[in-house]
């Protein structure tokens, strides 16, 4: 790896703690629903409200999702892990403590790999542990009082902690994107960042190269990749300014203000609470037998990295293309369907590099549309079969690439006719009859003596003008390559 880029002569050190909401139907320690957006306090049962006498019971679905994650990042899935109580008072924390894992988490170690440009980056994970979310304090609409909504209390979270191994905000964002894509790929998190299903805390410090770690400040609760980048960038400059001014940095928890783009200290180390962690006596140690791990493993989808390798090796895709095809599981499935539709098309024609053609379309026209319309691939209004047929027509010379784009537009906007009918209806079928084309070329040569003379005098531009004239005369139906060949022969 190349040496990390310095900012104003400082090396940046970033570690992320990511709260991933697990996609279980019920809460981590109770049977209440986890559906987002319900009326306040309608999805909190006696256990969530911490009514006297209630007890937590572990949701096995949450454990299975943690196991799944551990396997996906090559971590150790602990055969025995411990739930602890983190004690503090806050109105949206009904029990007066949060049940979390402290000394012995369920997932230990692991790694996340991603490409930054052409460079492969590996970030090691410290751990991932299960815990419950708190409720929400609502500070508006209560005439100076605070409202408490406990619907979110007890929602299962997997907190994924990285080693401080990122050296720029770009790396941190790419790590977070990769992690986000992975948990969604695995189906253990819905990935909805607006609803808080995936939120990051960033630990940031700066140091001179070779110096020990600087004092870190933790930016809390970043729920978009853009905010993550902005917050870290602001924090880096703030810390460097301070160090340059000869001022000390105090360990602190800071909040990012999205309106101002600034970070501001919420509490310093001196205010740090003593959480009085101790093993929760209501929950026996979480024992995960090898058979349980095997069952989870058997039900897991092929991982994105493995799939990308397969696409590179079996389909011959460049590494970048293979990574793009595996940006999400639905995207990869769409690619595979498109590739197959190309390869097994009904019409004849020469073999082509179908996977690469499929990838090009997906990265080009399809992605452009998806981005413009903020759609996921699953919501694309076109089928892989239809696009595959279109790609084949291009390869077979039945339609030009430009023509194919028009057909693609038509398909995208909902036209459903069979592909050949559509090409004909729009008059986009290329002229493959060489005698007809020869006649057109002859006519063009006769009408454009000036261009012919210029070409013969060595002006290459004139040749392109002649090709353009042939295309025009054929109303765009001529195959440009074929037209060029005939022109060259006749000008010979």
């Amino acid at each position: 790896m190349s040496a990390p880029a310095l900012i104003r002569g400082y090396e940046v050190v970033i570690g992320l703690e990511t709260h991933t909401q697990l996609s279980t139907a019920s809460k981590i320690f109770s049977g209440a629903s986890t559906t987002f957006g319900a009326e306040p306090n309608t999805q909190a049962c006696a256990v969530d409200l911490a009514l006297p006498g209630t007890l937590p019971v572990m949701n096995r679905g949450a454990v299975e999702r943690a196991i799944c994650f551990g396997l996906a990042v090559n971590a150790k899935v602990a055969p025995l892990s411990i739930f602890a109580r983190k004690n503090y008072f806050y109105p949206d924390l009904p029990k007066g403590y949060q049940i979390s894992q402290y000394e012995t988490p369920v997932v230990q170690g692991g790694r996340i790999e991603f490409l930054l440009g052409d460079t492969k980056k590996v970030v090691r994970l410290t751990r991932a542990h299960l815990e419950e979310d708190a409720g929400k304090s609502l500070h508006e609409d209560f005439a100076g009082k605070t409202g408490i909504d406990l619907n979110r209390a007890g929602t299962p979270l997997l907190e994924i902690v990285s080693e401080p191994e990122m050296r720029s905000s770009a790396e941190a964002v790419e790590y977070a994107r990769t992690l986000h894509a992975l948990v969604v790929w695995l189906g253990i998190c819905d990935g909805n960042m607006q609803e808080g299903s995936f939120r990051c805390d960033a630990n940031v410090s700066v140091r001179k190269p070779g110096a020990p770690f600087g004092i870190r400040r933790e930016i809390k609760n970043l729920n978009s990749f853009r905010f993550l980048q902005q917050a870290i960038d602001f924090e880096i400059q703030w810390q460097i300014d301070r160090v340059e001014d000869g001022l000390a940095i105090e360990q602190a928890t800071v909040l990012f203000n999205a309106d101002t783009g600034e970070t501001r200290a919420m509490r310093s180390k001196e205010d740090a609470q003593d959480y009085r962690y101790f093993p929760d006596p209501d929950l026996p140690p979480l024992v995960i037998a090898p058979e349980w791990i095997e069952r989870v493993k058997a039900a897991m989808p092929e991982l994105p990295a493995a799939m990308a390798t397969r696409f590179a090796q079996a389909d011959g895709l460049p590494a970048y293309d293979a990574a793009m095809m595996t940006q999400s599981l639905p995207f990869a499935r769409w690619y595979e369907a498109l590739r197959d539709a190309c390869e097994h098309g009904e019409s004849g024609g020469a073999a082509a590099a179908w996977p690469k053609l499929a990838a090009n379309w997906l990265m080009g026209e399809v992605s452009k549309k998806l981005n413009a319309e903020s759609r996921e691939i699953a919501a694309a209004p076109i089928t892989p079969a239809a696009l595959g047929a279109l790609i084949r027509r291009v390869a077979e010379g039945a339609i030009s690439h430009n023509g194919a784009r028009q057909i693609f537009e038509a398909l995208w906007s909902g036209e459903t006719a069979e592909i050949d009918a559509l090409i004909d209806a729009k008059g986009l079928r290329q002229m493959n009859d060489s005698s007809a084309l020869e006649a057109i070329v002859d006519e063009v040569l006769a009408r454009n003596e000036k261009s012919v003379a210029e070409y013969r005098a060595g002006k290459d531009k004139a040749f392109n003008a002649l090709v353009g004239q042939v295309m025009k005369a054929s109303q765009g139906k001529a195959n440009p390559a074929q037209a060029g060949e005939i022109l060259k022969r006749k000008l010979g």
Binding site: L49, G53, L55, V57, M58, F89, P94, G96
Partner: protein, 500 residues
């Protein structure tokens, strides 16, 4: 039978009377409610709902008429007010003996209560106890002390003092209790009733207002081992809502109690039973009257065929500091939910949030609860956790190991329940440490999670009852009940009643 008043009958007898239709459940419940009210000055009941009780009794009679009765259908009982009970069923608040929960209306029944209700018992009252089950004299109740029916100037023990006194005074045939460090066994001993704390995990803790989660266990308190066996069978069993409850099939403790030992005869029902006497349970400081009664009971057990063997529980004294670290640590966290936000007491006047917390908890909790919250908070604090909590957990495991060493040489361990008979009300008020030291013989089994039983063994000074403690290995409640039953077949200590 008609010569014996209803209140003098225990669970098994009442079951038989009800089955024979010599009395109806409604009649019985009415009589017991009247008696509870007549002796309200003992301070045993915190709340009653006459209409709901009679409705339950009518339902029990109807169930019996339809041939669906169990051994407990129609039998009136009362519950320690540490169990939550569904307010919509009976208008009984669930208070834990605390000002913090005055008038608290639970939306559900504790599992133990629900199971007894399913068996058909009729709830007479919620019974007084030490606040959040913290205490050994019932003087920490926020509402009133409970008087010992044998001597009203004395305490009934605690924390299940209301349960023990009500059973002893024959105000209720039987009651539920809970035991964290001796809270069933010690009041049973002080009041002359039979009580069993089962193995940790036998009874669900769901719906028991938590004191110390790793120690709390529910159990029955009654006139006899037989009555306890009947109740425990109904109360116990795996509960998926309590992750610490033991996954095992339902147990018939009454059948286990009756099952004869191999080689037993009518005269020697305990033939072959090895009873271990830990020398640490008979220290010089043990009151002579208590030791006398206990030794007498042991001689009786020998006559019934048991043999006595010397064993040792070398860390008995250490169980006091170990317990008074672990239990307050857990309590300090368990009681965090009483913050004035969601339920229970909230200070009427306060400034900001922190002030609301402070005033609410300062007003809602009594001094002993505050003391334990402070101890617990301290031992879990950063820098002290390893020195106190972690060390205590290590010693706890060693204490449990000591018991296993003993059980290689004996089947049951026996000794006193408490070093003295019941003391005078107010006697220990200024010195909590003295009360803590008096828990010495009940704490070891609690820390080890073992079943312990207290059976009346005669009387000591001032005619006050003395209990014999029997401790069994894990899940050997049947053996303890069998031993106690054999003892009660041969003695009548459990049949003596205080004069009210």
């Amino acid at each position: 039978m008609s010569a014996i008043p209803l209140f003098a009958m225990g669970v098994a007898t009442l079951g038989a009377e009800l089955a024979a239709k010599r009395v109806s459940s409604v009649e019985l419940a009415g009589a017991m409610l009247d008696r509870l009210q007549a002796h309200a000055s003992l301070g045993t009941a915190l709340s009653m709902d006459r209409e709901a009780t009679l409705a339950q009794a009518r339902a029990a009679d109807a169930r019996r008429a339809s041939g669906q009765a169990t051994a407990l259908t129609g039998v009136p009982v009362a519950h320690k007010d540490i169990f939550v009970t569904r307010f919509a069923t009976s208008r009984l608040p669930s208070t834990a003996g605390s000002k913090m929960l005055i008038g608290y209306q639970s939306p559900f029944d504790a599992t133990v209560i629900a199971r007894l209700n399913e068996a058909g018992t009729v709830t007479l009252a919620k019974l007084n106890c030490d606040e959040f089950a913290m205490g050994s004299a019932n003087e920490n109740s926020a509402f009133s002390p409970v008087l010992n029916p044998w001597d009203r100037s004395r305490v009934p023990g605690g924390s299940s003092g209301g349960s023990a006194a009500a059973v002893a005074a024959r105000l209720v045939p039987a009651a539920t209790g809970t035991d964290t460090g001796g809270s069933i066994r010690q009041p049973a001993s002080f009041c002359g009733v039979t009580g069993i704390k089962p193995t940790y995990g036998v009874c669900s803790r769901y719906g028991m207002i938590a004191f110390a989660s790793s120690l709390d266990q529910a159990g029955p308190m009654a006139r006899s081992a037989e009555d306890c066996a009947l109740l425990l069978s109904a109360m116990s069993g795996f509960d998926e809502r309590d992750a610490t409850s033991a996954e095992r099939p339902p147990q018939n403790f009454h059948a286990q109690m009756l099952a004869p030992r191999e080689g037993a005869t009518a005269a020697r029902p305990l033939q072959g039973l090895r009873i271990g006497l830990p020398k640490e349970f008979f220290p010089a400081a043990l009151a002579a009257d208590v030791e006398g009664a206990v030794r007498g009971a042991l001689r009786e057990l020998e006559k019934l065929g048991a043999s006595l063997v010397d064993v040792s529980l070398p860390r008995t004294e250490l169980s006091i500091p170990v317990y008074y670290i672990i239990a307050p640590a857990e309590a300090s966290s368990n009681l965090g939910r009483f913050d004035g936000v969601k339920f229970g007491h909230r200070a009427a006047q306060y400034g900001d949030l922190l002030d609301m917390y402070k005033k609410t908890r300062a007003e809602g909790f009594g001094p002993e609860v505050k003391r334990r919250i402070m101890i617990g908070t301290y031992v879990l604090s950063h820098g002290y956790y390893d020195a106190y909590y972690v060390q205590a957990q290590k010693l706890r495991r060693m204490i449990a190991d000591d018991f296993q060493a003993c059980f290689k040489a004996c089947d049951v361990i026996a000794g006193p329940v408490a070093p003295t008979v019941a003391w005078k009300l107010g006697e220990q008020g200024g010195d909590p440490l003295r009360a803590y030291l008096a828990d010495i013989f009940t704490l070891p089994a609690s820390l080890a999670g073992l079943p312990g039983l207290s059976v009346p063994a005669g009387s000591g000074a001032h005619g006050m009852p003395v209990g014999l403690q029997l401790i069994g290995n894990y899940f050997e409640e049947g053996r303890l009940l069998h031993t106690a039953h054999a003892f009660q077949q041969a003695t009548d200590f459990h049949l003596t009643e205080p004069v009210l």
